[in-house]
Amino acid sequence: MFKILKYSFYDLMRSSWSYVYFLFYLALGFVLLFLNNDVSKAVITLMNVIVVLTPLIGTIFGVMYYYNSREFTELLLAQPLKRSTIFIGQYLGVALSLSLSLIIGLGIPFLAYGLLQSNAIFNFTSLLLVGAFLTFIFVALAFNIALSHENKIKGFGYAILVWLFLAVIYDGLFLISLVMLQEYPLDKFSLIATMFNPIDLSRILVLLKLDISALLGYTGAVFQKFFGTNAGMLISFFVLLLWVILPALRIIYISKRKDF
């Protein structure tokens, strides 16, 4: 698996797309810091960007990589390798190179602007961690979609749809249902609904750092327990991890049954 990972990673690290992605984040970091000149404020703006954009890029990249490397995959399939090795290797290669572009691309400008001297460093690192998590999750989802659809156009379509749903539509439905059901106790419902969307979950993780003051303003005991203690942080991380592991397991499952 590590061999496949290594070569997929090498391949991607040299592809111009990784550079575009890397340069995009580099530019974004510098522009944000230049405009705000305040690390804390830039971190907040960045959060909005990361929570929406890393899933989008992860999805598109994952699908694209899968379809583009089909023949290469066939070459690998003819080698004495397990299928799970091949696909998990490729998956990790893509997710890792994207995460690295993100971390280095944003890391450089923030380090240059004195992140280490600022108290935003924890917010920033948790932001990068969340970004990496989202990349791993959405590349896995993209691989799932691509593995189930031979048709490229369909695959791309579904991938974008999944992103759109999780990034915008889900929250819309979520908000509407909360407002409609406001007579009922909703804190458990709202926390559980958050768990089912990795984008919301990551957002909550960042909110725990940035907006804890506001989150603690709510009366519900479940909320208090979730946001007021480390429980929220731990549970969120655990569920995010599940969001990585389950789609990855499904990659193995589908790949074992698929004809090439």
Partner: protein
Amino acid sequence: MIKIKNLHKKFGKVEVLKGLDLSIHSNTSSGGIVAVLGPNGSGKTTLIKSILGMVIPDKGEIKLQDKNILKKHQYRNNINYLPQIANFPSNLSVKELIKMVKDLRPKPTTDNNLIDLFGLLPFLDKKLGNLSGGTKQKVNILLTFMFDSELIILDEPTTGLDPISLLNLKKIILEEKQKGKTILITSHIMSFVEEMADEIVFLLDGKIYFKGTLVEIKQSTNQKDLEHAIAAILTTTNSKFN
């Protein structure tokens, strides 16, 4: 060498293999070249891919040297496969690709001879994405033949090759045969098949329609070359179905 029993495979509603039985024996001393022929959609590629484990059959069994190979992967160390379309990770160089494949298959290789033979030396440091189709096919051939394996599967090996390389390819195939290897070839170029093959397996409608030597197929159809023999088979079966 290869023993296939009652192989079934459906893609959606289309039944591609309908209980295919096939056994290919090679006398280890001289080896043998087997051409798998058949019209489009007859199940050639599905058969080959089933042997390689790329397609998972619905039913049946495949044995290589008396060992069941379904759901295994280690046996592929003993198969060299030349895929139809050669496309590699475009950001790796030829050298790196060769290194990688060697890395994935730890067994002795003869890559240097083949690099010389196909004149790939100047391309070693080039990225695969920048190579022409023909050169890619040469790299593809190189990757296939650099290992010493009992079974060699070639899917349309002549695609995109210049005449000299084609000659070289034929030479290598014959050499491998001399070494006692079993070589499975699919091709649409009948002259190539006629020149190379010892045995013909003709697939039709998901089953073996004919299996025998070149001479036998020509005799049974009363044709003097392979191309016409195949055409004759197809027309008779068509009239039978109509």
